[in-house]
C-alpha cells in the first residue's frame, strides 16, 4: 500500500491532465457580464478543424478521458458537431457548455443517444430577471427551452451549471427544483474575477454570510450537487463540524487541469487567461504533450508551496490558500489568502492592496458594440430638408426653394 496521500500525488502533477477545458472559439451570441474568457468575437487565429483533430489525437494518446468544451459559445463553430463526433470516436468523452442557443429538438435527440457526450446548460438566475441581468435579455428563455428539449429527448443527467453570485445565492433551492424538473443535475461554481468577471466581481461575489449559507447548503446536498471542486476555499467552514465538501479540494491548475484556448494557447486553468499563466501552444514543437510535461510554468506550479502568508493559519491544510486566479485578478499576492478567505484575511488584504490596479486579462474578445439583444439608441425621424443650409457653391437655381 502506498503511504503518500492522493492529494500529494495530484499536487506534484500527473503525466496527463485528469480533465481539461478546451475553449473552441471566442465567438459568442451573448455578452455575459462575468464571462471568464471575455468572449464575444471570433479570433482569426482560432484552430482549424485539422489542428483541432490533431489535438484530439494527442488527448487520446495521453488517455485524457474527457474534455470540457466551452468558449465562447462552442456550438456556433461550423465544425462543432464534427469535432464532438471525432473526439468520441477517439475515446475522448465530451462535456460541452452551452447557453442552449443551438439545442434544437433534433440536436437534443442526437445528444441523448450518446454515452460519450454530456451537456451543460449555463443559467445564472432561477428567474429571468436575475439571469438576464447577467447573461443578457432572452437568455433565460433560451436556456429553459434547451433544457426542455433535452428532457423531452430523454437525456437524463445533463448538467445545469450556475455561477453563484450575490444575486442568485438566495435561489439555490429554486435552481435545484429547475434541475430536478428537467432530469438534470445541478452544478454550482464560483464566480471568479477572471475576464470580464473582474469588472463585476466587487458587486457580484457573494457576501461573507452568503458564503457560509452556500457552504452549508453544499454540505447538505453532498454529491447530489456538483461543484467542479470550485469551493475548496470555503473548506475551513467545515473545521468545527468535520463535514467536508465532496471532491479533491485543491487547486488543480497545471497539475491535474489546464485550459486550451481557441488559438491553441495552453493556460494553467480556465480562470487564468493571462500571459503570466501561459505555458505554451499546442501548435509548438511536441504539441500539447510537451507543454503539459515540460513547460517551466507547470513545473513551477507542481512545486510544493510553503503556504506563504497562510502557512501559520490552522486552516491552511483545508483551503490550501484558495484560488490562484482569484488572487491574481484581485491584485493579491499568490502566496497569501484568497480574496474570499473565510477568516476574513482576504478582505483585509484587499483593503491593504492600495491604489495599484489589479492585472487585467491579456486578451479581450468582447463585442465592440452592444449585442443585438440590447436596444440600439437611435432616433428615427423624417429628414427636414427645410433646415438644410444652402451651400455657397450651389449652382442649382432652385436651391433652397421649397414649394
Amino acid at each position: 500500500m502506498t503511504t503518500t496521500r492522493l492529494v500529494d500525488h495530484f499536487e506534484r502533477g500527473l503525466d496527463a491532465p485528469i480533465c481539461l477545458t478546451w475553449e473552441l472559439t471566442y465567438a459568442c451570441n451573448l455578452s455575459c457580464v462575468h464571462c471568464l474568457s471575455s468572449s464575444g468575437r471570433r479570433d482569426p487565429r482560432e484552430l482549424t478543424t485539422a489542428q483541432a483533430e490533431a489535438v484530439i489525437d494527442e488527448l487520446e494518446r495521453m488517455q485524457v478521458f474527457y474534455v470540457n468544451i466551452g468558449g465562447g459559445e462552442p456550438t456556433v463553430r461550423p465544425d462543432f458537431w464534427h469535432l464532438v463526433d471525432y473526439a468520441t470516436a477517439h475515446h475522448v468523452g465530451v462535456k460541452f457548455s452551452t447557453n442552449g442557443v443551438r439545442i434544437t429538438p433534433e440536436v437534443a435527440r442526437r445528444l441523448a443517444a450518446s454515452d460519450y457526450v454530456d451537456v451543460q446548460i449555463s443559467l445564472d438566475g432561477a428567474t429571468a430577471e436575475v439571469n438576464d441581468a447577467v447573461r443578457g435579455p432572452g437568455s433565460y428563455d433560451v436556456a429553459l427551452r434547451a433544457m426542455a428539449h433535452l428532457r423531452d429527448a430523454g437525456f437524463r443527467g445533463f448538467k445545469l451549471s450556475v455561477v453563484v453570485t450575490r444575486e442568485n445565492v438566495t435561489q439555490l433551492d429554486a435552481f435545484k427544483a429547475i434541475a430536478d424538473a428537467h432530469g438534470a443535475q445541478l452544478r454550482l461554481t464560483r464566480l471568479r474575477p477572471s475576464g470580464r468577471g473582474a469588472d463585476v466581481w466587487d458587486e457580484l461575489h457573494p457576501l461573507p454570510e452568503q458564503q457560509r449559507g452556500l457552504y452549508d447548503w453544499l454540505v447538505a446536498h453532498g454529491e447530489a450537487v456538483l461543484t467542479g471542486d470550485s469551493f475548496f476555499h470555503l473548506s475551513p467552514y467545515g473545521a468545527a463540524s468535520g463535514e467536508r465538501l465532496p471532491g479533491l479540494n485543491l487547486c488543480g491548475a497545471g497539475r491535474v487541469v489546464c485550459l486550451i484556448d481557441p488559438v491553441g494557447d495552453v493556460y494553467a486553468c480556465p480562470f487564468a487567461i493571462h500571459e503570466s499563466f501561459l505555458a505554451g501552444n499546442v501548435l509548438g514543437p511536441g504539441g500539447f504533450t510537451a507543454v503539459w510535461r515540460t513547460s517551466e510554468l507547470f513545473a513551477e506550479l507542481r512545486e510544493p508551496s510553503g503556504g506563504g502568508a497562510c502557512a501559520s493559519c490552522g486552516h491552511y491544510d483545508a483551503c490550501r490558500g484558495g484560488c490562484m486566479a482569484a488572487k491574481f485578478f484581485t491584485g493579491l499576492p499568490l502566496d497569501g489568502p484568497d480574496p474570499e478567505c473565510v477568516r476574513g484575511f482576504g478582505a483585509d488584504a484587499l483593503l491593504a492592496r492600495g491604489d495599484v490596479p489589479p492585472p487585467r486579462p491579456s486578451l479581450d474578445h468582447s463585442h465592440r458594440t452592444a449585442p443585438r439583444s440590447r436596444p440600439v439608441p437611435v432616433s428615427i425621424g423624417r429628414h427636414a430638408p427645410a433646415g438644410r443650409p444652402v451651400s455657397a457653391c450651389e449652382e442649382n437655381p432652385l436651391a433652397g426653394f421649397v414649394p
Binding site: 492522493l6 460519450y116 471532491g247 479533491l248 491535474v256
Partner: protein, 113 residues
C-alpha cells in the same frame, strides 16, 4: 477541475457489499477506461461520467488480471496478493462491482476460447 464525484478511495472493506462473489469470473465493463498512474490508476466510467481512483498499484494489477483469470481470487493471486490480503482486495473489487464498473464475465464468450 476533477469532478466532485471523484470516487471512493479503495480499498475499504467496510463499504463492500456482501454479495460480491470472488470465486467467479469478473471483467471490467467495456464502458470503463483505465489509466495507470504512479499512485495506482484512474478509472473513468463513460456511462455515469464518474471518476474513481485506485489508490494502489497492486489493485490495478488485480483489475488488469481479471480478464485472464477464472475468478477474482485467482486474479488476486496472479497479481501477487498475499493470502492475508485477499479479503481486502476482494472487498475493493466488490465496491467496483457495486458501482457497475466490474461485471460478471460472460461465460458464453469465454467458452469458445
Amino acid at each position: 477541475m476533477p469532478p466532485s464525484t471523484a470516487g471512493p478511495p479503495a480499498p475499504s472493506p467496510a463499504a463492500a457489499p456482501a454479495a460480491f462473489d470472488a470465486d467467479r469470473r469478473w471483467a471490467l465493463h467495456p464502458g470503463v477506461a483505465v489509466r495507470p498512474e504512479p499512485f495506482g490508476a484512474l478509472l473513468y466510467d463513460f456511462r455515469t461520467r464518474r471518476l474513481t481512483f485506485l489508490k494502489d498499484r497492486r489493485l490495478l494489477d488485480v483489475v488488469t488480471a481479471l480478464a485472464d483469470q477464472p475468478s477474482a481470487l485467482a486474479a488476486c493471486r496472479a497479481a501477487g496478493v498475499e493470502p492475508d490480503g485477499e479479503a481486502r482486495y476482494a472487498a475493493a473489487l466488490g465496491r467496483l462491482a457495486a458501482a457497475g464498473m466490474l461485471v460478471p464475465a460472460q461465460d458464453a464468450t469465454r467458452a469458445g476460447q
